[in-house]
Symmetry: C2
Subunit: 329 residues, 2 copies
């Protein structure tokens, strides 16, 4: 930077201003500085800038995995929203592990990121306290408090109630005349919340049974088919399955088709997530739509508002969900 300053015949600060606040520099000076920058191939060191200004222009996000489209599309929208305002995204994957998440948070706080986006509300009390003390804006996503057992939000929030999703799914299947239900999902926090809602609703409506299978993540397409075969072999009378993600549900749909089990007459299948691909199956997959790109966008906007010092009208947003009834139920 001092090379640039010499070449342009100005001081260091002027170069800094020419780069960061060009309208505070006279047009002629600006031009000389820019020319010097180009001439020397100068690349400003943003790390030094961050240290001096204590703003990193980096936002971090932690998701369980990018190998699930619902999360990668959320991150896509988040990164795009932030990029418009000059923020970059530092990404961490927790693999559904609270320890990994905590370790990532430490690393990100150490980097003095300007904001943080988390998945879920289940962070430990210690972690929540640490984040509150850090003073940086935090957005939790992918859930919304509904039961008294859930933690208090750390700061901002944009999500939907997983428990209500579970309830809505049970309600839907019961209303279609099914009395014996199955739940197949991956064994992780939010899936278990949906299960708890599903079971609660089934209980309250006197459903005759709920068969539960939780698969350790990552799940694969054929898992649900395998599990359903087991359920059918036991003659449990199950006639409807709620698969806790569309990959499982679509795989199950295909299994039913292959085995000649009529959907939804022999077996009703319901998914979660509304993946682009699942929208085109035949029969159409009934599922629960989460507007996950909106979720990423709103998380980004919340952070940007806070970072630009604006007051935030609604720091805790429930974006809800929608039952997409198609032909599989």
């Amino acid at each position: 930077m001092s090379d640039v300053a010499h070449t342009a015949g100005v001081s260091l600060v002027t170069v800094s201003r020419a780069i960061n606040t060009p309208d505070k520099v006279s047009p002629e000076t600006l031009q000389r500085v820019r020319q010097a920058i180009r001439h020397l191939g100068y690349v400003p060191n943003l790390t030094a800038g961050s240290l001096a200004s204590s703003r990193s222009n980096i936002v971090a996000a932690i998701v369980p995995t990018l190998s699930n489209l619902v999360f990668s599309e959320t991150v896509d929208a988040l990164a795009a929203t932030l990029a418009h305002s000059g923020y970059q995204l530092l990404l961490g994957q927790s693999a559904y592990s609270a320890d990994e998440e905590a370790a990532l948070v430490d690393a990100f706080l150490g980097r003095r990121v300007d904001g943080l986006v988390l998945t879920g509300l289940s962070q430990s009390a210690a972690l929540r306290a640490k984040l509150r003390r850090s003073g940086i804006p935090v957005v939790q996503t992918w859930d919304f408090p509904s039961s008294p057992n859930q933690n208090d939000p750390i700061d901002m929030l944009v999500g939907f109630s997983n428990i209500e999703v579970g309830r809505a799914a049970a309600r839907h299947l019961l209303s279609r005349g099914h009395a014996r239900l199955a739940f197949i999902g991956s064994d992780e926090e939010r899936s278990r919340l949906r299960l708890s809602g599903f079971e609660a609703e089934a209980r309250e409506q006197d459903a005759q049974a709920v068969e539960v299978s939780l698969i350790p993540p990552p799940v694969s397409v054929n898992d649900a088919g395998r599990i359903l075969e087991g359920i059918l072999a036991r003659n449990t009378g199950v006639s409807a399955v709620f698969c806790n993600n569309d990959l499982l549900a679509t795989g199950l749909l295909f299994t039913c088709l292959k085995n000649g089990w009529p959907v939804p007459d022999r077996m009703a299948v319901m998914g979660f997530g509304d993946l682009p691909l699942s929208r085109a199956t035949s029969p159409g997959l009934s599922t629960i739509r989460i507007h996950h790109t909106e979720l990423g966008k709103r998380a980004g906007k919340l952070l940007l508002s806070r970072l630009s010092g604006k007051s935030i009208a609604r720091p805790r947003q429930n974006i809800g969900f929608r039952i997409m009834q198609r032909s599989s139920t």
Copy 2:
């Protein structure tokens, strides 16, 4: 840090060493320092560390979008590989735009990232020169040079030949007895490379026609179905379609099923990418498998080797591809 030093009764350097190179500190001192750190809730400022050491422990990656599973799974594997060695991932999305990519590179170089992963080989001469001058390790991915028209690699490379993919697809369809082919893909660099290979092979084998449709990204499930309807309406005699991504191909498969067009007898459908979901369709989707998680892993390993000063046996790796013939062709 100086608070910690005072509390532990040592100097700044010792605290630094206790954190970064604990085996260079006596056990008793180490314990005192660690206790002070915990007691004070000290979080080391990695930005300051980066500035002083000129190592950021950050690697940046640029992909077109995370909303395509082939890329998000690659990034997943890359991030996981890097995380094992303490590197974090800074992510940029180019939206298939060379300008966006160039802007992201500038930002990342400014942050003094320790390494960079790019998608494709089509960077401008200026950008390639800038990256070479920067001296940081760069890995280009998702393509491999085969035609003399392609650019020289910047540094390291792990990919496969998109042109050869196109050729292989044409060869496969022609060998199945189809003489009039269609190509449907998104209008972007690598898809066009596959198209060029597809057309070249078709020409050399005297195929009677290749109908081409390029869709501006992002593509959606039903795009290919709509296009095929147009092709059929024109009575072109096309009997086989190469869809340049599995989302399109699977959508097309569903369209054919819905319309009662027998697959592959009336219309053969071939995809690209081998998405998890597409593996379970019925009829099974013939497609081209890219081991994209391996791609991410190798890109990460190449960077890690270089960053740890190891010599690299094969800095340019062609991981190839594989034709997965299932029932749709």
